[in-house]
């Protein structure tokens, strides 16, 4: 797999998981490009570095594995106007005209009118990075894209169809077709990030079905990354008891008393109510997991990092992805 597209419902952890995946992929000396396409500088924030210019910058080194040093992770924030200039320069030798067009706001105008054209510039950049070679070797062993959310991913990746609605023939159409062939190649996979809540899970299932649908034929769905998972604090039997309100509160109170807590009876009542809520949450988590299983894709479990995300947490998620063989 060389191009990893990471999508998911807003806020479920697309940027975080894309970054962790890039780190995981870079773990045995391989060079990885992590790119974002929504102009939010999410990667810079995550790696705690200044905003990324339109250029590929090294932001991190993957974890070392045994004798092998970690590989480099480069990052790029793609911008449609810059991508357009690059495209003009590369294919038409028209960089100057492009600059003039930008000044007049043409690119902004056209891509606003027709987001399909903007998308083809963004996915085009990913396709270019995937195919780029130095001598006979690929420059990047893998490219990870922090992609738009599930609601827009189908259109975003279906560039050829989106563009063909606007341009039946012509150069842009040809470009879109090339990009499409990279996106639909067996070397590309679309991963879904979700949390175990009803709406994100539903969006994941809908998204998987949409990409699998004929209209998107050939798009390969990759893994489902279950993010921010919480571990149960009780055994299954206790969870059930807590859920049914049959938890042994006398035993609970005795335990509290043994720990030197006064007022253990009333505390036990409160804690039992908390446990019941916890049990309910765990039960919902389980049923959402079962729903995800129906999608029939590999699933990877990523824990909730309790004290908020930082670099250490990111490496921890990368480690999980390695261990579960997502990378």
């Amino acid at each position: 797999m060389r191009l990893h597209v990471v999508t998911g419902k807003g806020g479920t952890g697309k940027t975080t998981v894309a970054a962790a995946l890039a780190l995981a992929l870079a773990s045995d000396g391989r060079k990885v490009l992590l790119m974002e396409v929504e102009g939010r500088q999410g990667i810079a924030q995550l790696f705690d570095c200044p905003p990324l210019p339109y250029g590929e910058r090294k932001v991190a080194v993957g974890p070392a594995t045994g004798p092998l040093a970690g590989g480099d992770v480069y990052a790029l924030a793609v911008d449609p106007e810059e991508a357009f200039l690059e495209y003009l320069a590369m294919f038409y030798n028209l960089r100057h005209a492009g600059t003039a067009l930008n000044r007049l706001g043409v690119v902004d105008f056209v891509t606003t009118l027709a987001p399909g054209l903007r998308d083809v510039l963004l996915t085009g950049k990913a396709a270019e990075a995937v195919r780029r070679r130095k001598g006979r070797r690929h420059v990047y062993d893998a490219v990870v894209m922090d992609a738009p959310p599930t609601g827009r991913i189908g259109r975003f990746l279906n560039v050829a169809a989106e563009v063909s609605g606007l341009a039946r023939v012509g150069p842009i159409r040809g470009h879109a077709d090339t990009v499409q062939s990279v996106i639909r190649s067996p070397q590309t996979a679309v991963h879904f990030v979700t949390v175990l809540e009803e709406m994100p899970v539903q969006e994941t299932l809908d998204g998987v079905a949409e990409l699998r649908d004929d209209a998107h034929g050939g798009l390969q769905v990759g893994g489902i990354m279950i993010n921010m998972m919480r571990t149960p604090m009780l055994s299954q039997a206790e969870l059930t008891a807590a859920r049914n309100g049959t938890l042994d509160t006398a035993e609970l109170a005795m335990g509290l008393k043994a720990a030197g807590i006064e007022d253990s009876r009333s505390l036990a009542r409160d804690l039992a109510a908390d446990l019941a809520e916890h049990a309910r949450a765990m039960e919902l988590q389980r049923s959402e997991r079962r729903r995800l299983a129906a999608a029939g894709q590999p699933r990877y479990n990523l824990p909730l990092i309790p004290d908020g995300m930082d670099l250490a947490g990111l490496y921890r998620l990368a480690e999980e992805l390695r261990e579960q063989r997502a990378a």
């Binding site: 419902k9 105008f109 609601g151 505390l267 409160d270 908390d274 809520e277 949450a281």
Partner: protein, 440 residues
């Protein structure tokens, strides 16, 4: 975070709950208590100190409140809160319509919103004994846009526009079309004068400000210089200006033809020309709805999750509302976590759990034994510690907001273990909003 402007500048945030201070004079106390207080068995209150409570009932009961706009960043609960506030206001006697955007499927079904038909439908199951009523509708963005086009151009031209590929792309995916159409629909509902309270949900955008900015962005876009260049309708200015335009024009058409193909450029031009007659109308409509939002009958509820990003967005939004003299009612912090036994600190609870784990508890096995005697109590103590830490973190975040915006009233809604997808769930959300001690 600072707007450079004192918070006392808030139009209505200064008056209680966004409505004039004498507002509750006409509302009998027993009415205000309906449909009932919160259940007693909920977690104890541990909320930020020294802030003003946002009394949503008082706001929604006041007949002068005609529009409530629920806004905030993505996924914080705008749709849920809009539906809950609408339901509660209706059950307390007002004639309410809730305009939702993209509700979760099950919530939509429970409100009887099964088709996207752009018309308000009565919600079955709302209690109308207090004399109120509840309607709800889902925004159909494309259809609303089509209707504007039809209303503003003759039939031939309308057909031409509706069939144009660029119109189809713009009307279904322009970032901002949804916001514009939500505003447009709000304007329509308001003019219809059929309801005495309109509760508006705002589109799922990442950025809370999009709702305010997008309509004007669309208006500006459709009215822009470039569009005028393309339509050849830029007739102002002297020679030099024209020459620049002409050079610009030939570069543009030259490059675009080469890159996009002649057909695409022609489609853009036809589209733009066809829309030309409507530009004025677009702008005017966007402006008039914007002004409607500034009137005293409108109240903004800013929704946030107790998380840094959401609260930061809420801060920006509050500052922006203040700058634009929009009537802010207050902040609702949704999905707040609380521990029931707040009297026991996280540290104490963890220490107790450690004691049990090490088998050091009174009456437990001798020190050093590996098996813990009270696994249940230990788990309960660890869970409690976790909840206390989370509650503390959330409270600190809310306190930051309050410190920066002391004049903004705040209300909280506890996190429920499960999603909200029926009227009962909405009612409970409404109840917790109505209770100053909630989540309590």
């Amino acid at each position: 975070m600072s707007s450079g402007q004192p918070d006392t500048d808030f139009g209505q945030a200064e008056a209680d709950g966004g409505v004039p201070a004498e507002a509750d004079a006409g509302v009998p106390a027993e009415d205000r208590a309906r449909p009932g207080k919160n259940r007693a068995d909920q977690p104890a209150a541990t909320r930020p100190n020294r802030y003003r409570w946002l009394d949503v009932d008082r706001l929604a009961d006041d007949p002068r409140t005609r529009v409530i706009v629920c806004c905030g960043s993505g996924g914080v609960g705008k749709t849920t809160v809009a539906a809950a506030v609408g339901l509660r206001a209706a059950e307390r006697g007002r004639h309410v319509v809730v305009l939702t955007v993209d509700p979760a499927r099950r919530l939509a079904q429970s409100m009887g919103l099964t088709t996207l038909d752009n018309t308000p439908r009565p919600v079955q199951g709302a209690d109308t004994t207090a004399g109120g009523s509840l309607h709800a509708m889902m925004l159909d963005m494309k259809r609303t846009f089509d209707e504007i086009v039809e209303a503003h151009s003759d039939p031939d031209r309308a057909t031409q526009i509706l069939a144009n590929p660029f119109y189809q792309s713009l009307s279904s995916s322009f970032a901002g079309t949804q916001e514009y159409m939500a505003m447009e629909k709000l304007g329509q509902l308001r003019r219809a004068e059929e309801w005495d309270l309109i509760v508006v949900d705002t589109p799922p955008s990442r950025n809370a400000l999009d709702f305010l900015d997008a309509p004007q962005r669309l208006g500006r876009f459709l009215d822009g210089r470039l569009i005028r260049i393309l339509t050849g309708s830029a007739k102002v200015g002297g020679r030099a200006y024209l020459r620049v335009l002409n050079t610009g024009f030939s570069i543009i058409t030259g490059v675009l033809t080469r890159v996009l193909g002649a057909q695409v450029l022609k489609d853009v031009q036809t589209f733009v020309t066809a829309l030309d007659t409507m530009f004025g109308g677009f702008r005017e409509r966007a402006d008039s709805t914007y002004r409607l939002l500034q009137t005293p009958g409108t109240a903004f509820l800013v929704i946030a999750a107790p998380e840094p990003d959401a609260l930061r967005e809420a801060s920006y939004f509050v500052e922006r509302l203040s700058r634009d003299r929009m009537p802010l009612a207050g902040l609702i912090v949704n999905r707040v976590h609380r521990a029931r036994a707040a009297r026991m600190s996280a540290a104490r609870s963890l220490a107790a759990a450690e004691t049990l784990q090490n088998g050091n508890g009174e009456g437990g096995p001798p020190s050093g034994a590996s098996a813990a005697r009270y696994p249940l109590a230990e788990a309960a103590l660890r869970l409690h510690a976790e909840r206390m830490l989370l509650a503390t973190r959330e409270r600190r975040l809310a306190e930051h907001f309050v410190a920066a915006h002391p004049a903004v009233p705040v209300a909280e809604i506890p996190a429920r273990p499960e999603d909200v997808h029926d009227l009962d769930g909405l009612r409970e959300i409404g109840m917790s909003l109505a209770d100053e001690d909630s989540p309590a």
